[in-house]
């Protein structure tokens, strides 16, 4: 209990990822769905750093930088899409976004 190991960090990462998944599946506000995705990306980053430091591989640390860059790009484009959809529908409810339904 007093010694913090790899397992503690990985368990925390799994818990945060699950909270993110639950957020994506249960919320209808598109912005909160986006924030839940950011929580999932952060949980993955935590697992990357944990493994990189424990086995001694710099690749994991560099990958976190790429994940953060992709998350920034994703947030910019995603929020622009939300703004554009809000102009058309006057709402950010994901259930109203049915334009691409087959």
């Amino acid at each position: 209990m007093s010694e913090i190991g790899v397992g503690h960090y990985l368990t925390l990462s799994a818990v945060l990822f699950t909270i993110g998944v639950i957020g994506v599946l249960t919320r209808k506000n598109a912005i909160i769905v986006f924030m839940a995705i950011e929580i999932m990306l952060n949980a993955a980053n935590l697992a990357f750093v944990t493994f990189a430091m424990s086995i001694g591989d710099l690749g994991g640390l560099v990958m976190v930088l790429f994940v953060i860059a992709v998350a920034a790009a994703e947030a910019a484009v995603g929020l622009a899409i939300i703004v554009a959809m809000y102009r058309h529908r006057e709402t950010v409810n994901v259930e109203a976004f049915t334009a691409m339904r087959g």
């Binding site: 924030m35 001694g56 929020l79 703004v83």
Partner: protein, 171 residues
């Protein structure tokens, strides 16, 4: 308990509580602020893992840039007050909750808490303070990973142009 252990438990509990508040809060502005706290906790956890450079990047890019973007959109669209009951009330929601909690329980039962990796990396003997330093990451980024680094720059340019085109008002 050592200092690192105390820091881990405090940061872990605050991170889990705040991320739960992010996905359960009805007010999007409150969600954004709880998310900032979660990101600061993860930066602190990176510090406990001796990865100081990534902790700084986490605070600057996530808690700084990305969160300001979120807050901007929430304010711009005037979503400060909850306008509808936005929790999905389909049977799938209950299934999601049960499967999510079951996933964590299954991982805990499988012994994730005592997991120790058996793989040995290329820099296995290096002390963690040297491995997580800015110098080590920069050396890797500008030598072995220089092509992905350049592609990331291109991706950010494309995302910037895409965001401007998408959010522009059509005439």
């Amino acid at each position: 308990m050592t200092g690192v252990a105390i820091a881990f438990w405090v940061l872990a509990v605050v991170a889990v509580l705040c991320s739960l508040l992010v996905v359960t809060s009805r007010n999007p502005v409150a969600s954004v602020l709880y998310l900032v706290v979660t990101f600061f906790c993860l930066a602190g956890l990176f510090v406990t893992l001796h990865s100081h450079f990534l902790a700084a990047i986490q605070v600057i890019v996530y808690a700084g840039a990305i969160m300001v973007l979120f807050l901007f959109v929430v304010m711009l669209l005037n979503l400060g007050t909850p306008q509808w009951f936005d929790v999905a009330t389909t049977p799938l929601t209950a299934v999601a909750l049960v499967l999510g909690v079951g996933f964590v329980a299954a991982l805990a039962a499988a012994g994730l808490g005592d997991f120790e990796p058996s793989v040995v990396g290329p820099a296995a003997g290096v002390p963690p303070d040297v491995l997580g330093s800015t110098e080590a990451i920069a050396t890797a980024l500008y030598s072995a990973y220089y092509l992905p680094f350049l592609v990331t720059a291109l991706l950010l340019l494309v995302a910037m142009v895409g965001a401007v085109v998408l959010a522009r008002r059509e005439r």
